[in-house]
Every structure is written in C-alpha cells, then in structure tokens.
Symmetry: C3
C-alpha cells in the first residue's frame, strides 16, 4: 500500500479522534525543554510508534549553544497568611514560569508582584512564560486572581530542581526505498498548551504511524524535540545526515479553526514549497502562503544559512496571531477534531506529491502519440471528466521533456497533481513515458 | 516591393471580398481528412497560387500514426416508408458522419436512433461529427428533424467507400533571401464549415498570393493539410526541413466577429509570440493573448516536445467557445468580410515585424550622436509627431547594443514597431547603425 | 563623522535656507552652455566648495560633437519708433533666445514676428528658448507684450558675441577611502530658471560641502556642467576615469512642491536604483519611480550604451510636466525651502545606503547564534521597538551568506536600511559577522 491507497482507505474521522484523545492524554503533563515531563510525553508517544529516545548531557556544546541543565518540578504554590493556596501548580502547570529555580520565602504583595505575570487584556486567562537562559522564578496567574490578592504576607514555594542532567528528544527513522529523506519535526516542550504544541505532536505521531504501514519512496525522519535548542542539538549531533534531507516540514499549531497557512522554506521554490502550495490551492478552502522569515519555529534552525534545508512550516493560524496563543485558553477545547483531520489530510497530500513527483521522459516526443489505438481515451474514469483526463494526458506528454516534473506540469496546466500523476502512470504503463527520476 | 509597401498599397477591401468569394466557392465541397473533396479544394486553391499536391499512400507510417484509408462519398439519405428522403446528403454534407462506412439497411426508429446525432440546445442546427479511427456510420440532423420522425421503417443508405488510397495535402514553398523559413499552416479537412476551416484556408491562400509578389527576407512555406494527421504526416516526411522553420503561424477561425486571439507557442517568448502580441496590443481593438496548451489545432504537433517549434495560432473566437462551432450554423453568413480583412491585415503586420526585426549595432555608442548636424530631426514626417519620431531614434540608439532587437526596443519603449523600424532605417542610412542581423 | 552622524546632527532647516539664498543669488545671472554667465556661476559656487574650473577650447572634438563657439551677451532690446525699450534684456535674461547672434536692425512688426516667441496659453509668462546649433536670433516675451505691440518700425538690438573661446565646467573631486566613486551631476547652463537648474545646482553644492567634512568610503565627483554638451565633453575627456564610477545621480528639479521622482538607470537594477527606491519607499511620502528612457537630462549620456553607467536621476516633478517649466514662472517663488530640504535629506539617505551597503558573512551560519549570552537583545534601543530590532538581527544573520547585501536584506525583510545596518554593526562588533565587502 502506498500513500495514494492510504488516502482512499483511511478514516480521517478515526484519525482525528485518536489525535484528539492523545492531545487530551498529554495535556496535563508539565513539559519543558528538558526534564521528566518531556520523557513522559515521549513514553506515551512511544506506544504508537517505535520511538528512539536520546539523552544529551547537560553541557554538551551544540554549535553556539550549550545543552542547559535539566529542570524538574514537583510542586509549587502561593499561600496567603491564612495558609490557603491561592495559586496551585497542581491546578495548572502554567502557573509556574518554566525553569523557575527553587524558592521558599515569605513576601509582601509588593515584593511578590515583581514575580507575577498576568494578561490584563484577558483577565480570566493564565499566561505562559519561560526563563530558560536567565536564573529566575515567577508565577503566572489570571489577572482576576491578581486583583483578588489583598495586601498580606505570602508564602511562595517552588519545589523544582535545576541540575546537570540531559536534554531528551525522540526520533523515529522510517526506512524507505531511498536514503533520501523527508524530515517531519515538531516541538514538544510546551506544558498544558493544546494547539501550540500538542496538535503538532499528535499529528506527527499519527502520520508516522500511518506511513510506517506503507511502501515509501523516501525515508522519513520524525523528530519530537524541544523548540530551538532541540533542533540545534539534533543538527549539531547529526551533521553528516543532513545532506540526506531533501524535503522537510515543521508541523505546529494545526488544530485551531483558522485557515491553513504554509510558510515557505528559505529557498522559496523548493519542491516542498511547490507541493504545499499546490495542496492548499486545490484544497477548495481558504489558505495563506507566507514567505520565509527568520522567526517562528524550528524552521529558523533548519533554514539557517549554513544548512538552508528545504523545510517549510505547516500550520493553521500563525503563532501570535490568535489571542489564545501561549495562554491557558489554548486548551483542549480550543483544538477541533475537524481541523486536525483537515491538517492531517493536507500533510498526506503533500507527502503523496513528494513521493510521486517524478520527471518522466516522453518516449514519443515527435507529435502526439495516437492515444486511441492504445485505448487510453477509455481507461480513465467516467465520461463526465473524460475531457479533463485526456487533457491531463496531453499535458503530461507535452511537458515530459526532462525539464518538467509532474508537479511542474500540474502547476502549468492548472490541473490537480493526482490527475496528472494518474495520467502519467497510464502513459508509463503504455510505454509512452519512461521514468526519468534520475534526471 | 516589400511587405511595408504592400501594406500601404493593398486594398484590404478587395482582399476581403476575394476571401469571401473563395469561402462561398469552397463551402459546398464535402471534405474529409482524405478523399476527393480535399483534392478538389486544393485544385481550386491552385488557381490562386502554384500549389504542389502531395499524395501519401494509405498505410504509410508517420511517427506513431498510420496514414488511414481514403474515404469518399457519393450519396447518402434516410428514406421513410413512403420513400421520401427525409435526410439528404446533397442538401448538407454535414448530414453524414465523416468516414461513415457504406450501408444500406432498413431499420426501425429505435434502431436508427443509435446512429443519429442532434443538438437539442440548438434544434435548428445540424452538428458536425467524425469517426476517423473507429469504423462506424451515422447521420447528423437537426433536432427538429429528429422530433418530426414518427415510428416507421427507414431505409438508410450511404454510398461511401473506405479503401486504400492516399492522404492528400497541398504545399507552396516561396523562396526568400534566406533559407530560414516561416511556416503558415491551415487545416483544410472540414466539410461545409465556413469559419472553422475555410476562413483560415482562404486567408492563407490570399496571403500566399500576396507574398509571392514581394521581396522577402524569409522563405515561406504554406501548408493546406488535414488536421492532426496532416501535420503529423508532413513533419514525419519532412523532418530534415524542420530546422529551417524559425517562426510559424497556424491560421484558423479568422472570420467570425469575435475579437482576435493569439495563442502563444509552447516556448511562450518566441519572436512570433512577441510579434503577434505587439500587433494585437497596437491594433486599437480588443484582443486576447492565451498561453499554450496542448489542445486546439495543428500547433499541438508543431509544438510537441520533440519539435518545440516557434509556432503560435492566430484566430478570433477560440474553437468551442462559440455555439456555431462544428455546426451547420458555421455557414457563409457566419463569417464577415470585415473580420477577414482585419485578420488578413494582422497577419501582414506580424510578418512585417518578422521580416524587419533586426538587431542593429549603434556605431556611436558613447553618448548620443548629434542628430541635428545630420538633419535627422527633420527627416521624419510632420511637425506634429516629430517628437515621437525623435524619441524612436533615441530609443533605437540607446538600445542597439547587440542585446536588443527592434521588436525588443518597440516593446521597451511602448512605441509601435513601424516607428522604431523607420527610425532604425534612417539611422542606418546615416551610418549611425550597422545591421547586426547575424548576431 | 560619517553620513549617519551627519544625518542626526545637521540642521535641514539651515541647509534649506542656504540653498534658497544661493538660488536667489544665482538667479539673475544670464547663463548659457558657454560664456561668462557660466563662469560667474562657478565663481560663486566656488565660495562654498573648492571647485576646479575647466576650460575646453571651441572646436575640441568630443565624440560625435564639437565644442561650440563661446556666446556672451551684454545688452539687448526692442525699441519702438518712439525710442521706448518695450523689451529689455536687463529686465529678464529670458527675453533673448540663448545663442542669438548680434543684430541691429529696423523691422516692421510683421518682419519682427518671425523672431518673437510667446506662450499664448500663459499670456503673462516669458518662454525660455535656445538656438545652440543653428545661427539665428530671437526674442521671447509674454503674450501680453506681443498683443500690446502696434504696427510700427522697431529697432532690434542684440549686443552679443559668438566667437572661438571655450566651454567651461566645474568639477570637485572629493577623495574617500576607495578610488571607487559616486558621481553627482547637475546641469548649470540655464539662465533665470530656479527649479530647472538652480535647485539642482545649489543642492549639489551644499551636498558637496557637507560631504567634504565627513569620513567617506567612496570618493565623490561633483560636476557642474552645461546640459548635454557638458556631460559629453566630460565623458570624452575623462574616459579613463569612467570605470571608477560605481554609482551616480543626476540631480535636477528638486525644489518644486511635487512629489519626489526617481528615474532608474538604464540598468534598472543597479545599487543606486535599489537605494533610491528604498529611500522613497520608506519616506512616508508619496513618490514616483519611473523606468529609464533616453530623454531628460545628462543621464542620457551617462547611460548611453557605450557607457551604461549606474546613474539615475532624482527630481521632483519631471521636466515638462509642470506648466512653469522653461518659463519665467520657474522663478525664485516657484521653489520652496521645504522641498529643497526634503530633497537634500533624501540625497543624504541614498548616499548613506551606498556608503554602508556591505555584504557581510555570518561567522556562525549553522543554526542561530545565541544572542542572549552576548547581551545583544538588550543593546538596541528602547523596549518598544526591541522586537523589530531583534528581527533585524535575525534577518541579517539569516541572509548574510555572501549572496545578500544589507540593502537586499532590507528589501527582503521590509525593514528600513538603517535598522538593518545598525543590527549588522552590532553583530559585527560581537564577531558574529565578518565584513565581506570584497566579495
């Protein structure tokens, strides 16, 4: 079974429900860029796909960076003078600024305020904050909670540890026919945030599971990494493998109800760019294509000038463009099975194109071949769309000159890739085309 | 006399009337892709230009195709049980599906209906149908005729023959100064259809006649061929001549009242494309430029990847975009002398550009030459357009650097080619330009 | 001090007033393409900058042209039969057609009229006319003056001389770090015309004065020349220096109230084009960018195909597009200090870009460098625009691959050049970039 077969047989509805359940399962875990929350997340992903878990020791030099100390947290709260926990880590792991150092102290409200973060514009939501590279501590809370705090003496307690340990990431390498590979990368370091993190994590997991059952032209590498430091670490430790990466996608924020957005690779005209644009253009739905810019997710590293990989980013609403982004409102209700299903389907369609985007050579390049005597006018589909299908064959024949891939032909003709691909298969079977993959 | 002189002296009105009369003369003949109708058509064209008639035997292999058997028809009708001819080939040769095999049979209405073709949306019109590569027979009739047919026993009679013979085509090669040639091709295989066939045939005939009286830079090859199989046959039998073809036009459907349409060659930026686009842009009339697509007329073959000739297609309303297309309504009344005249004039303008599109070399490339001391400010036309004409000279001087043809200069300056050409001639006469044709 | 420092410290208001005063001072002088008016103009410019005055003898061959005889004028008038001066050169030097030969004659009104030029559409204005290359004489007057003339015998007197002498031009070469140079050219041959001439002359003068106090990467060459024949003469006599000219600007018509217009060099994508377009795009004001055409000012010569220099033209309303052009209405009131200030500022901004448009090489091209540990997040400006400034650093790092200049990066990122430049300086100081100027 290949991707095309998979596309026709698979139940998107089922996949969406599985993704949604996995999001719900992973949501309560307190992840950060290192630590046990990340490990636990990988353990659960590992039930779906044969993940290799890597541990990279604190202090390892990775290009200009150093793998940081490992952070773990067990408990944290703010108590008022009556001993009531007014902020409790166990109610939401967003309450603690990620990488907060341990603390146990009594503070006045004024002293405490320097360590409190709220969103006055969204008074019911808790913000998400980190302090990875500067030793500090802090609490995030809703603005309503802050306003309710009277002048008092507060007990602040964070039972965390920041010690030498390791950075953990998960990797699944799926061997295809070729050593050329497609990279699928998702950051997996956010705590209870559903869209910005878990939507990408679960889509990548189920996509990997699905592909593992198929016959594939490319090999696939799935990375579950902490953002920024994770991709830098992987690139630093795997430099020799990088030349195998022919195409790549960063998958993130794929569960909200916004339209699909594809951010181009730094190259701007890589096959992954053309494939993703084709899929969105033919999706029948609204979409956005945006140019590469050196901000966002791990495409920043994959597309740094020293690598310049053909890696784009598939998402729905871009980061920072929806108010729920990096707040407690990016919860399990914020992501929708229908959006997950649609994003999953678009990923499959993009990979279907990459897998089948061959450049053929017309074996009868002088004048058109006589399709009728080969029965090629009848072989494709129903009468209604016969004309489109004949056009697809004529386009493939006309442009299979060694200069145009099937994706180029789809683009020039305005026809969907699958039509062009199907036409090419029929023509190849009839001996009218020769696979010029190695061109 | 050259084309420019011809353009100023010729009576378009007379040419249009001659074309129109020739359309009327050729209209009744029952043409098909082979047979005596085609031969008779060429015989009449041969009264206007010295046509060479080629006969290619049935069975000749032409690339992936085989020259088919020759079809001829003498009579055909459907009689009702009262012996009345309700459908009569002699009233319209569209009544018989082209390449129908001979038949004489009695049939019920139901049995007959499988062989009858009508246009329910245009109940008064007879459709045009062919069955070249599948042995069959059929009648085309108006939907009104069909509705008038009562249940009855019908006598069906087609006195045709489908036998070994030959494919006929006409060719006129007009020697110019150079062996580089311009191809003008028209399909001539349609029976009583005035616009889709005869407008192109007659324009090509009169254009050839006109050019034969002129001094020409290029050699010209005019082909009167059956559609598809004719161009394939010519290409297969004349492969060695193909490299001489520098520019080409398929001329077809040039008599209806729609705006002029130019379909680009597969190359998309060939000189023929630039020339035709320039002419339409400066025509002062509405027009359409369309990209190449591998469907339509014989440009499909000339632009197949193994040839990829610089051949575009000049028409008015594209095939299939007007309801009269391939029906009895595409009759002599459907084409208009004014449209024929306009199309003829545009063809001449395109050829005028090709004939004169030289790349000159400015002999005084450092700073402007002093035009005044050479009297060049006064030499061109009246005071009113002197400024435009001086601009034309300055543009030609500035861009005659070996990288720009006169057509490029016309395009960059926005000025009409004839202005640019006239300016270049004056400058060349003054020794300020050197003909760089051989660049 | 460099241009950036100058931009922040200089008083545009003061410069505008100086330009305006210099325009007023130079306005009454009767300039032509040769003669004492031109010399007197250079003498006064020479009080501001150390100008070298060149004299090129009449008869000198300069490419296709010959340096003309020198023209000087002392007096001219038309007297009526009552001895009243009805037209007096001393009231406006526009009254005499430039290069008029000496004359003293009595004429009837009819005979005189062949030598009188007016603007019927602007009856109060005197036109500006020349007859450089055809020996003739004439008077320009307002149409009102013409209408007031009764039939009479008129005494016509022009005390001019047209004799062997020389063509005069001024040049100021300002040595920078490199022998690569920027050419700033203005025509200075028009008599009492304020915008079309003196605005460019005075802006060039004050720009030269300003730059002479700065540390400069490029050398600068300022030319004060008669139009057309002046640039041709300079190019002919200085051919060996031409290869040093890397960028250039013709400055003219920069004092009217119209929007800024930049006319591209013939190359169309030279750095001067990109820099000027960037400045206008980020000016926050309306502007026009126009393609090169071989008419206008001395860019016609600099951009002739044998030189094809990267020279554009900065102006406000293009020549001929305002009714005051080449009339007595282009007077001191027509130019505005605010417009002069704005044009001056834009020139400085363009030169600031050229001076700093380096291509850097990212020394840490694999993944992003860790900016935080170098304190680079805090080093730029206030909190408010910190995000934009971080983006500028990320853009510079991402695109400093040897293929992109800072101007390219500004263009791709949409950020202002100064932001990009500032970011690059910080990164270079941190050792993250290496100056790749010599790429």
């Amino acid at each position: 079974m290949n991707i095309a077969d998979c596309q026709t047989t698979l139940s998107l509805h089922e996949r969406a429900n599985e993704m949604y359940q996995l999001i719900a399962e992973l949501y309560p875990i307190c992840r950060s860029i290192t630590g046990n929350g990340f490990r636990e997340t990988l353990r659960r992903i590992g039930k779906h796909i044969p993940l290799t878990v890597h541990e990279v020791p604190t202090g390892t030099r990775v290009f200009d960076w150093t793998v940081p100390r490992e952070w773990n947290i067990r408990d944290a709260y703010i108590k008022n003078s009556r001993g009531e926990k007014i902020i409790d880590f166990h109610k939401s792991n967003l309450h603690v600024v990620s990488y907060s150092v341990p603390i146990q102290q009594k503070l006045s409200l004024d002293e405490l305020k320097a360590h409190l973060f709220t969103l006055p514009d969204y008074p019911a939501w808790i913000p998400y904050r980190t302090s990875y590279y500067k030793e500090d501590w802090g609490f995030c809370l809703s603005h309503e909670q802050l306003l309710a705090m009277q002048d008092d003496t507060f007990e602040v307690y964070i039972d965390s540890s920041l010690e030498d340990g390791s950075l953990t990431y998960g990797e699944y390498y799926l061997q295809g026919e070729s050593t050329d590979e497609v990279l699928i990368s998702c950051h997996s370091c956010h705590p209870s945030l559903a869209n910005d993190n878990l939507s990408g994590v679960t889509l990548t997991t189920l996509l990997a599971q699905e592909l593992s059952q198929l016959t594939l032209r490319y090999s696939y590498r799935f990375l579950f990494i902490p953002g920024t430091i994770g991709s830098i670490t992987w690139l630093a430790l795997n430099e020799s493998k990088v030349t195998n990466i022919k195409h790549g996608l960063v998958v993130t924020g794929v569960g909200d109800q916004g339209k699909s957005t594809y951010k181009k690779s730094r190259r701007g005209d890589a096959d992954i760019d053309k494939a993703a644009i084709h899929v969105l253009q033919h999706s029948g739905k609204d979409y956005d294509i945006i140019e590469f810019f050196p901000y966002g997710y791990d495409e920043r590293q994959y597309c740094s000038p020293g690598f310049n990989l053909s890696v784009g980013c598939l998402m729905r609403t871009p980061h920072g463009r929806y108010p729920e982004y990096h707040t407690s409102a990016d919860n399990v209700d914020f992501v929708k099975p229908l959006s997950l299903a649609d994003s999953f389907s678009k990923c499959l369609s993009i990979l279907y194109i990459l897998e089948n985007n061959t450049a053929y050579l017309n074996q009868n390049p002088k004048c058109e071949p006589q399709l009728g005597k080969r029965g090629l006018y009848q072989m494709m589909g129903g009468q209604a769309d016969r004309k489109t299908q004949e056009m697809a064959m004529l386009w493939v024949l006309n442009l299979s000159d060694g200069q145009h891939s099937l994706l180029d032909i789809a683009s020039k003709s305005g026809l969907e890739f699958s039509l062009i691909h199907h036409a090419a298969c029929l023509l190849a079977t009839s001996g009218l085309l020769k696979d010029g993959r190695g061109l």
